[in-house]
């Protein structure tokens, strides 16, 4: 499998480390239920899925990779910092 890092270009997947689904991060103060859902109760679709990978053996960038879990087709790669997953500003 190969992933096209927006900063480095197409690289072998051995340069990347997988984290999990790319989901909006709840506020730190959000309750246990919301965090539990975020960490443990995730969809497992057979099809397109947005997920987080880090180019840790390359530039270090966290990436939002859109991948079809059934075919492994790469549908898109973007820098995670631009992906709108962040805790909304102003929350510590």
């Amino acid at each position: 499998m190969r992933i096209t890092c927006p900063l480095c270009g197409a690289r072998d997947r051995r340069e990347f480390t997988y984290k999990g689904a790319a989901l909006p991060v709840p506020a730190l103060e959000a309750g246990v239920a919301e965090w539990d859902a975020h960490v443990h109760l995730r969809d497992n679709p057979a099809g397109p899925l947005e997920e987080l990978w880090q180019h840790d053996m390359g530039c270090g960038a966290w990436l939002k990779v859109t991948r079809n879990t059934a075919t492994h087709e790469m549908l898109g790669v973007a820098l995670a910092q631009d992906a709108g997953l962040a805790i909304k500003e102003g929350q510590p």
Binding site: R2, G31, V32, W35, D36, W62, L79, A80, D82, I87
Partner: protein
Amino acid sequence: MRISGKGLVSHNRTVNFSFNGKDYMGLEGDTLASALLANDVHLVGRSFKYHRPRGILTAGSEEPNALVSTGKGAARDPNIRATQQELFEGLAAQSQNCWPSVERDVMAVNDLAAPFLGAGFYYKTFMWPAPLWEKLYEPIIRRAAGLGALSGAANKDPYEKAFAFCDLLVIGSGPAGLMAALTAGRAGTDVILAEDDSRMGGRLLAEVEEIDGKPAHVWVAEGLAELEAMDNVRLMPRTAVTGVYDQGTYSALERVSHHLPPSQSLKTAHRPRECFWRVAAKASVLAAGAIERPIAFRNNDRPGIMMAGAVRAYLNRWGVAPGARITVFANNDDAHRTARDLVAEGVHVTAVIDSRHDAPDSGEFPVIKGAMICDSAGRQRLESVTIRSVNGEEKLQTDCLAVSGGWNPSVHLTCHMGARPEWNRELAAFLPKPDAVPGMVVAGAANGVFSTHGALQDGAQAAVTALAGMGTSVDAPPLPVASDAPYRISPLWAVPGKGRAWLDFQNDVTVKDVAQAARENFRSVEHMKRYTTQGMATDQGKNSNVAALAVLADATGRSIAETGVTTFRPPFVPTSIAAMGAGAEDQGFKPQRYLTSHKASLQRGAANIEVGLWYRASYFAKDGESTWRQSCDREVTMVRKAVGVCDVSTLGKIDIQGPDAAQLLDLAYTNLFSTLKLGRVRYGLMLREDGFVMDDGTTARLGENHYVMTTTTAAAGQVMAHLEYLTQVVRPDLDVRFTSVTDQWAQFSVAGPKARDLIDALVDEDVNGETFPFMACGAITVSGVAGRLFRISFSGEHAYEIAVPARYGDALYRLLLERADPFGGGPYGMEALNVLRIEKGFITHAEINGTVTAFDLGMQGLVSKKKSCWGKALSERDGLMDDDRMRLVGLKPVGAMQVLSAGAHLFDPDATVERVNDLGYVTSVGFSPTLGHMIGLAMLSGGPDRMGDTIRLVDHTRGIDTLCEVVNPVFFDPEGGRVRG
């Protein structure tokens, strides 16, 4: 029998080799198989289950029978296909799966026991009782499993792995592959042409035909010369593409030096035996050709019964006639070429037996139409066959039978990403599903296009299509003139009749076995495969699978299309573990990280211990010390009484800068860092998002917006990735930057009552309780070098960590030791460091094992109530603060056996030792010379509530069963007076 002057071998260059200890002579250009056939050797091995005599069946990598071992001792290579092994001077090969010899094999009695060894034999025989598995069944199966054997010794031969990149990967160099490579090469694209065979050209090397008015092999040579002259084309012979993976990744196995004598290949030329390639290609053309399939009939497995295309290849490429009276048995026109070519060379062809009533006539050899071969005879070599026709049965004397049941396109690689091939009635074959692999275009025989003209045209068009897919537009080139003979076939899988008719030659699977599997309701093709072991040998059933499923379809009353095929998976050819694991044997490519103090430590008698990739001093043996414990005890006492020096540079160091640096620390750590004053250090705890402890360490504030964080050695990489996650994903709005500086700074712990005296005298600045109180930090100068000083302690002693740029590490370490000597101090290693921290109840990743919370470690107070932090929400889940959780305690031994052991489990003294009564486990132990007994840390259910209790400690692996007392995990100086003093 060799035909003088015939073929592409060098008739004037002989090569000596041996087979089963007997010397033979072959020619340059021979394979082991062609040389054996030239010497009239047909019996080369024994089958797996029945130990039946077996000969050479094919001329390629699909060979199921002719497997041999080459090499000696540790370098022995089992299961080498004689059809692929190129001959070299001195080659010594041996048969496998036979004892004492291939001619007189004791295990051949299995053949008589055949009625008991049918389908499902393993499953039916090796049933319960379970205890017999380990003692009886498994050893029997292991002895029987596999044909060749490894030596058992480590193989010292070199293997390699490598990456390659190209625009177009062309797989196979027959007419389709060559034409594709020429088309793409001429267009200037980067091309890799990979060919399994040692010589490029595919079937064109094995056939008598003309292309553009020249012999086909001459046209091949000209095409290869043109490709060789192109800088953008790379030819890779002896390279089998073994797998297809996502985004245009292909694996390939190159047999780099199997064709050379060991002396040339390994020592002088420094060539590996094999290289495992990962090829990244924008597109590929699969032109892997087709594999001929046998027809099953009674006793169709005798030496001398071969594939018709293979007989033609041995004749035309290697100048070998595999018999003196050759018979052909076929259901298609293509096989008639075998008879034609043999007759042209003066070899006697008894007849072509064709199952079709409308088979073509020939003026050169008799054709018996509408007939089949229903049996054969001959003990170790074919002597006769029995022909069944409308006239009844008739015996025919023959020493070689060339069989063809038609051709199976090599669709394997098109299935590696999940696609299934599709049945084509007209060709009686499975064809690749269109667009089965993104970016792969299939051409030629692999695509069911069997004529040479068709393959040339298909190959050229495949290249045009593949290049168009990557945005390069080329015109289809003019095609050379070649034969366009039609492929006419009428399916015939198995000749009806009694007796055993073989499908899978290597695993001894017969038509009866498949029918029996169907009767026993193993009707799915995947079930049939596993029940009969059809296609599960080293050849993966390349020439037998389709016939087997056709027999299954017949037995279950379904069509072949309904029955389907089993799943083709990588690797396409057997791949040695040595090649896939190249670079990982012994030290391999594993980095070795040495400390700047490494050399000086060794000079001081250090014994090294591996900590991840690091090599650290474990202890420093002095004269008169014969065990590590003696050194360790001395070093601990030295630190407690005087001063010790220890290299702690392996701790992760992350330099953090920016206006929002403190916000990042508040996010990552459980406790407050935004209140940390300039010139101060604070201990911190980090949680994972699920609320469990990730790591601990200290962070120092060096400037207004400048911090340096330390992590544990074990989690340095994990914490770095985590901070990247927090700043890139969770809070990209933070104005902060950080980088790992672990390798940039050498850092030494100086610990003990004399530490201040040593440091104060060493650095230019005044170091005293006012300027450097406990948990202070700041810039210092030592011998003119700017460094940093941190008053932190991992030993509970008055201690400092002093850091200088790594290039001064060696000098500073030597200087520190020199200054420590007059105080009665010196270096201490990891063993002493561990005892010192256990005496203080300080945790490491022995305790932070992924299952513990801050609460479990007695550190709930470090989780600030004034702010949120990463992981806090889930750390407050019900149950994670339950008093009964396994929580950190200290242990000391009581009773006769004054011993503790890490990994031991804890029980109530009156409870039975079983899992339900397990109260916890020991994480760290050491002998404390300070206290005079062993001490330990443990995670114990309800631990802090059991202080003073007696607990039973059981370690089955070390045979320890003893009692200990639950105590405060801080064994030494619980008030902390020494560290502040």
